[in-house]
Amino acid sequence: MDKLLQFGRSMLQPLLAVFVGLAAGAIAIVIVGGSVAETYAEMWKGAFGSFYFFTNTLSRATPIILIGLGVALAFRAGFFNMGSEGQMVLGALSAAVTAIYLPGPGWFKLIAAIIAGIISGGIWSALAGWLDARFRMNLLITTLLLNYIAALFAGYLVSYPLKDRTGSAAMAQTVMLDQSVWLPKLFKGMSLHAGFILAAVGAVLLFLFMRYTVKGYEIRMLGGNPLFASYGGVQRGKMMLLSMFVSGGFAGLAGSVEVLGTQYRYLDGALTSPGYAWSGIMATLLAGSHPLGTAIAAILLAALQTGGMGMERNTEVPLEVSSIIQAVLILFVSAKLTYSFIKRRKARS
């Protein structure tokens, strides 16, 4: 009963926020002369309107969930990992390269590619952790900067040595992966692929790990107060490398499943332009670094995006306005509306 009440209270805030966000979005729609009901209906349809669109939303959410989980882990350990983008790019590239050049049967290459993606994303992230632990370089800055370096490096590889020379050869991309290494689709004719299962399992595992294991406990305490953790015998340096590695590993996995499940090749810019990394960070922050919450927030953000596309396709509301509405919704969802609301009510009573 108590738990139920607590749950209800914790749901009040996001619900209220979504409500206010929709109201604010409605104002934007009215300003451009759209019909609020129709626009939101199209948005809903684009995100959840049918099984097809629902799975579409989930497939878009897949990399966001994985990135969000990685970021959540690092945040929980007290490390501000802003480098998901670079980690994802390198993970994706390594997965593609492994899948293309490794000999062996398809299933073997697929697994190897996923592992390669996780490892290279993890190493890139752990590098930032190492620079911080060893040289006291601010992690926030290094991770941000390493993004640019990773993107340029990957860009170079696919523009020159690894470039796809079959076909029109006009894109900076690797060759298409052999069909045997593609991640299977979950439903025929839908874009949702097995990567989503990985993301969902990842969320549950991370949740269980953080909550019920010794290491998870240590990571949480390290994030809560690093002095307390080190006083209790947690080794910050080691933990930093470990948690940054796992954090980057999630981002690398995100890149890998995009390559193996959606694009079937590494295409320069295909992972950076949708802003998956920023969405992932937002999902994490919206959920207060709770793994399951992060997954839900990621789906919500993905739904806003796919909904926005639906809105653009089927109404006269232009694409820019749909991005305005998305931003407004996010802003309000992030606001701790109940905070001031409850406080005020208390003061009065």
């Binding site: 900067l145 002095l227 937002m282 306005v321 931003a327």
Partner: protein
């Protein structure tokens, strides 16, 4: 070597660095009051767009700059209200604002000028280029330092002004206090929220100027997304300079210089992708010297009792 380090390199550095520096100073003010402003990119974009709008309607560049500042202030109030008043996560707000700014400017570009992508009008006059009387006659320096837009010189003055403001004035002192230990500041009756709003507003003024320099100083046009990541570079400069105006200036200049240099390195043997990495790699290397606060100090600070 002569090819690399010519006068135009320094002139170009100064021009390219001004918007970054202005935004980074704004970021530093926010950081000083405990608001990590990821929304610089969006604020600068707003500034760049509204400067062009102002110019279009008033036909006066200075009025346009003022207009840009006002619009950016209005936009930043949203940032302040969300993160200070409604206690939203400041980073989420920053990211969302970046998206919002991109959407709003693109949309308004169409609404105001009825064009897509870029607004350019050859009759539009940008910020004047000031030749500085004595300076311009000094052989090498004159060429590098003279003949820039007023905002370039203003940004240099602002660095000094902010340094003095933060460390020499009462208001600056309280601003530092509010960021250093908000609980203690509140316990002294200092209005921390009000100071935070103040910092956000000052930041938006600076970002407005940064945007104006971009769209009326560096070039005279607005194009969709023309900030091209400069706001994030400014964020790095803010952190690297440890939110000290002089430090921020130094790190912005370092980055700007390396950026200008990397352009010149294009075409020398190395692939472009690698020359483009140069500013980022050098910035990381510079961090070896700009040592950050120890995590212990950081942790001590955040684990003072709140009761």
């Amino acid at each position: 070597m002569d090819q690399l380090f010519d006068v135009s390199l320094f002139a170009s550095t100064l021009r390219l660095v001004t918007p970054i520096l202005l935004a980074a100073l704004g970021g530093a003010l926010c950081a000083r009051v405990g608001l990590f402003n990821v929304g610089l990119e969006g604020l600068v974009l707003m500034g760049a767009f509204s400067a062009i709008v102002g110019n279009h309607f008033t036909g006066n560049v200075f009025a346009a700059v003022i207009f840009a500042v006002i619009c950016t202030i209005i936009f930043s109030i949203l940032f302040g209200y969300m993160s200070i008043h409604l206690k939203a996560n400041v980073i989420v707000v920053g990211i969302a604002l970046n998206f919002l700014a991109l959407g709003l400017t693109t949309f308004s570009l169409r609404a105001v000028f009825d064009v897509k992508g870029a607004y350019y009008n050859k009759d539009m006059i940008g910020l004047p280029k000031w030749e500085i009387p004595l300076l311009q006659d000094i052989p090498w320096f004159g060429e590098a330092l003279s003949g820039h837009s007023p905002l370039v010189y203003l940004s240099i003055l602002l660095v000094i002004f902010l340094q003095l403001f933060l460390f020499k004035t009462v208001t600056g002192f309280r601003l530092l206090a509010a960021g250093e230990n908000p609980t203690a500041a509140k316990s002294l009756g200092i209005k921390v929220a009000r100071i935070q709003y103040g910092a956000v507003l000052m930041c938006s003024v600076l970002c407005g100027l940064a945007g104006a320099q971009l769209s009326l100083g560096n070039v005279t046009m607005f194009t969709e997304g023309m900030t091209s990541g400069r706001g994030f570079i400014a964020l790095v400069a803010t952190m690297l300079g440890q939110s000290n105006p002089l430090g921020v200036a130094a790190s912005s200049l370092l980055f700007g210089f390396m950026d200008a240099l990397s352009i010149r390195l294009q075409g020398f043997a190395m692939p472009t992708h690698f020359t483009m990495m140069l500013p980022y790699i050098v910035t990381i290397a510079a961090m070896l010297f700009f040592k950050d606060k120890n995590y212990m100090q950081e942790a001590r600070k955040s684990n003072e009792s709140s009761r």
